[in-house]
């Protein structure tokens, strides 16, 4: 059933459109850099941007950095918010229930599909960046944030790991969206609600007076993936971030389960 659900999601035109849009971000940036002939502006812009013209593989990291605040969470909110509410809105939820798909089983399959989507979405950004970067710019040893250079192979492994971390970073938001999705028959409402939570988390993270709660916000550790690009990887931030995402998944996943296994399916 998991394979069928994955096929169902990834064959849907909307999902493909989301992934194409995500892929276009690093592609657009790389093309713009190529056309304008360089970053210019003396070091402004997202991290890694200045490196792209020297080493195309950095287009991956620029893509991740640029899509992480908005585009990736948006795609996540759409897919997670739609998971249950979308089926309820179409009325297909009742036919899945009497199939019987099993409430816990359906929930588990939907959740697993969302996890796959988050990781795939991050990989799409990173692979698209890699492809366009290597096509347009020279490729070579990778300069780390610490200033050293490491072998291209090592750099690629780190970029792959960064993509994975970015994908997993989205899971806290995904869990919240999934939970909201079990409460409504209106998918667009669940998506909007999820984005609302995202914005709230970002706002709270920007208020210095609330620094005591900052480590517990699911958006707080999102940029820690760049620690993988230090010569000696600093795992502390990444570990904390992933542990926090796991915490959100457990809390909101259980809440979604408690809600969905007892609710009346009226749609």
């Amino acid at each position: 059933m998991l394979l069928a659900e994955l096929a169902h999601l990834f064959r849907r035109r909307r999902t493909l459109a989301l992934l194409v849009a995500l892929a276009l971000v690093p592609i657009g940036i790389a093309v713009a850099l190529k056309v304008s002939g360089g970053p210019g502006g003396g070091g402004e812009g997202p991290t890694f941007l200045n490196q792209v013209t020297n080493n195309g593989v950095f287009a991956s990291l620029v893509g991740l950095t640029v899509t992480l605040p908005v585009f990736l969470p948006l795609a996540t909110a759409i897919v997670a918010g739609d998971a249950i509410a979308g089926e309820a809105g179409l009325g297909t939820l009742r036919y899945l229930m009497i199939r019987p798909a099993g409430r816990s089983r359906l929930l588990a399959v939907k959740a697993a599909t969302i996890v796959v989507f988050c990781v795939v979405a991050a990989l799409v950004v990173s692979v698209a960046g890699l492809a366009v970067g290597t096509a347009l710019f020279p490729v070579g040893r990778v300069t780390t944030l610490s200033g050293d250079t490491i072998a291209l192979g090592d750099g690629m492994v780190r970029i792959a790991a960064a993509s994975g971390v970015v994908g997993l970073s989205l899971l806290g938001l995904a869990a919240i969206g999934f939970f909201i999705s079990t409460f409504t028959d209106v998918a667009i409402g669940a998506m909007a609600g999820t984005l609302g939570v995202l914005v709230l988390s970002g706002v709270l993270d920007a208020v210095p007076q609330l620094s005591s709660i900052h480590p517990w916000l699911f958006t707080h550790g999102w940029l820690t993936f760049s620690d993988l690009l230090r010569t000696d990887v600093n795992w502390t931030g990444i570990e904390h971030n992933l542990a926090l995402q796991a915490g959100y998944v457990v809390v909101f996943g259980s809440a979604a389960w408690a809600r969905f296994t007892t609710r009346d399916v009226l749609a």
């Binding site: 059933m1 659900e5 179409l90 009742r94 036919y95 009497i98 199939r99 798909a101 099993g102 009226l266």
Partner: protein, 333 residues
């Protein structure tokens, strides 16, 4: 004929019978109640649907039919009471019961962007006994049965209401079933389609499948049903076999004549209370053991009554249904 509750489900002791009695019923509910807020949408419902029957579940819009069906299938929880499907409790055993139950609940619902065939495959893949190896063949057979083969490759969003309904039926028939629960299956269908559905239901019943058919239009299903239950305002008004229902109807004698004043006393001699009709003529209710019609007619003619017409009428089931559920088919609430 029993009003409100069948004898075998009306007492609590009937809930602990031997396996034989339990197996005889495809659906059984006891005291089934669903409240939304203060309103009991389904109120103390005791249904008994014999296995092998074609069971018409009737009631005006808003009488609680769909809510009942949702409880039967475990989609919503009951506020009180019990449900047994195929002899096993709902919702506890839905995982083992529902594979043998095909259903159409509150209209068909599919993914608009998938074709009819893809939709069936999608739902089939989501549960047990949907073997992949046989899927294509099963889908072909089901589509053929509901007459949808030609439109199988069209996107669901392009389907007409009748075609959607047919796809919903195909979904219910995708795997072998012991029980079919069909909620308003002829909704949105043209008369030809309605006839095809009736034919299909007869065919399925002939294969031994119990068919539970809800409708607000008795005329659409009375030709196929062996049993009927009538709901009104959340309560069961009657249930029983079709002959039992027919036996509750009262036959009437209608005499069309210009000689009302002569005919009245003649009918009175036979113990009939005649009332004049608006356009001339008389109407009298017939008792359970009515006098022979031919004797009545001769007596009228002998008394000099000029008879234009002489009819013994039995009200249609439709009339009976309306009498049980109140006037017309307005939304009950």
């Amino acid at each position: 004929m029993t009003l409100a509750a069948p004898a075998d489900a009306s007492t609590s002791s009937a809930w602990a019978p031997g396996p034989v009695a339990r197996d005889a019923l495809a659906i059984r509910t006891g005291g089934l109640t669903k409240r939304f807020g203060d309103v009991a949408v389904v109120d103390d419902l005791d249904l008994a649907v014999p296995e092998g029957s074609v069971f018409g579940f009737l009631g005006p819009n808003g009488s609680g039919k769909t809510t009942t069906i949702r409880m039967l299938l475990g989609l919503i929880s009951a506020s009180a009471g019990r449900v047994e499907l195929l002899g096993r409790p709902v919702p506890d055993d839905v995982a083992s019961i529902l594979p043998s139950v095909g259903a159409l609940v509150e209209g068909p619902a599919f993914y608009p962007w998938l074709t009819g065939r893809q939709n069936l495959a999608r739902i089939d893949a989501a549960g047990p006994h949907g073997e992949r190896a046989t899927r294509r063949a099963r889908i072909d057979v089901a589509l053929e049965r509901v007459g949808l083969t030609a439109a199988a490759g069209k996107a669901f969003r392009a389907y007409s209401l009748g075609m959607k309904q047919r796809l919903g039926l195909a979904n219910a028939l995708l795997r072998p079933r012991r029980l079919l629960i069909l909620d308003e299956p002829t909704n949105g269908m043209d008369p030809q389609g309605t006839r095809e559905i009736r034919h299909l239901v007869r065919q399925l019943a002939g294969e031994g499948t119990t068919v539970f058919l809800s409708s607000h239009l008795l005329s659409e299903i009375d030709q196929v049903c062996t049993h009927v239950a009538v709901m009104n305002l959340g309560r069961l008004v009657m249930q029983g076999s079709l002959p039992e229902l027919r036996a509750t109807t009262v036959a009437r004698l209608r005499v069309d004549t210009p000689d009302d004043s002569l005919a009245g006393p003649v009918l009175a001699r036979f113990g009939l209370q005649a009332t004049p009709e608006a356009g001339g003529g008389l109407v009298a209710q017939l008792p359970a053991e009515p006098p022979a019609a031919e004797e009545l007619c001769r007596a009228l003619v002998d008394a000099g009554v000029r008879v234009r017409g002489f009819v013994v009428e039995r009200p249609s089931l439709e009339d009976t249904f309306v009498a049980l559920t109140g006037e017309g088919f307005d939304v009950a609430r």
